[in-house]
Amino acid sequence: MGSRRNKLEIIHDILKSIHDKGGIIKPTHLLYKSNLSHQRMKEYVDELKGKALMTEEIKDKDKHVFVLTQQGYEFLANFRKLKEFTDMFGL
């Protein structure tokens, strides 16, 4: 069984799921991919939107989608360094 993900890893998994779908994803797909409960995913999405790592947009016919921002790409690019840093100090 894998170890419990920390907050940094969950953020990475959410943003990576959006990236893997070409930078744009439907909420239902994100819920499935992020492996979180609906409530928890909503909390994370609100936080990530607040930090401008992703945005919510309305596509055709009132369909909501999540879009990865430039800062989101930056986070993914730096994730390995940040993860190694937290591992280094057991954080």
Partner: protein, 228 residues
């Protein structure tokens, strides 16, 4: 810090330079911690980076005092420099006690704020109720040594779990700091021993931070592997 009079003058210049390097190392660790905090908003990253910023400030302050000693200003010039030395030494002790309490709490996953404050209060009382400067320094080095022992144990467990180079480096760095504090404590306890012990203590303490500087620089210089 600046109270061992029989240490050769040249050591203070060397000490000041090493302390600047150690301060930079601590600042970089704090900076990385803050970066993680900005993304994850988890308070433990905030406390961790704050601890290293405290250490960075205390080392820069310590470097300034060592520079005063090297230039002979403290002894030969005005009372003003003695006051500056006293104020900086107090700030140095307070910041380092707070910093190591925070690192110990974060690395031990202590979430109880009262318990963290209790550790800080107990260690501060032990240091600041000392009789005279010599005893204050002795108690300070002892408290720091005990804290670093427990921090090092946490980092050993972290290394044993992950067995990679970065976790080994953090364990090695804190081991070196622990040895440094042990030597500083022994030297202040047995004042008839050679001042080389004092210099050795400082060397191991600062060497620990140089290892941290190396490992954080190694991390910062790694290439980004993610492609858009």
């Amino acid at each position: 810090m600046s109270l061992v009079s029989e240490v050769p003058q040249a050591f203070f210049a060397l000490g000041a330079s090493f302390e600047v390097l150690a301060g930079i190392a601590a600042f970089l660790v704090g900076f990385f911690g803050l970066k993680v905090y900005n993304y994850a908003s988890d308070r433990k990253y905030y406390w961790f980076s704050l601890a290293f910023f405290f250490i960075a400030i205390s080392f820069f302050a310590g470097s300034f005092v060592h520079l005063l000693l090297y230039l002979g200003l403290r002894e030969s010039l005005f009372d003003f420099f003695k006051m500056v030395d006293f104020a900086i030494s107090t700030v140095y002790v307070v910041l380092l006690l707070a910093a190591y309490t925070l690192i110990l709490s974060v690395s031990s996953n202590l979430h109880n704020k009262k318990l963290v404050l209790f550790i800080l209060a107990l260690s501060s009382l032990m240091v600041f109720t000392s009789r005279g400067v010599e005893q204050l320094l002795r108690n300070f080095f002892l408290v720091q040594f005990v804290m670093i022992i427990f921090i090092t144990l946490n980092y050993f467990e972290n290394f044993a779990k992950k067995t990679n180079m970065t976790t080994f480096l953090s364990f090695f760095a804190f081991s070196s700091m622990g040895l440094g504090h042990a030597l500083l404590y022994v030297r202040t306890l047995l004042s008839y021993l050679s001042p080389i012990l004092y210099m050795g203590g400082y060397f191991f303490l600062l060497f620990g931070y140089i290892i941290l500087l190396f490992s954080v620089a190694r991390l910062a210089l790694k290439r980004k592997t993610f492609k858009k």
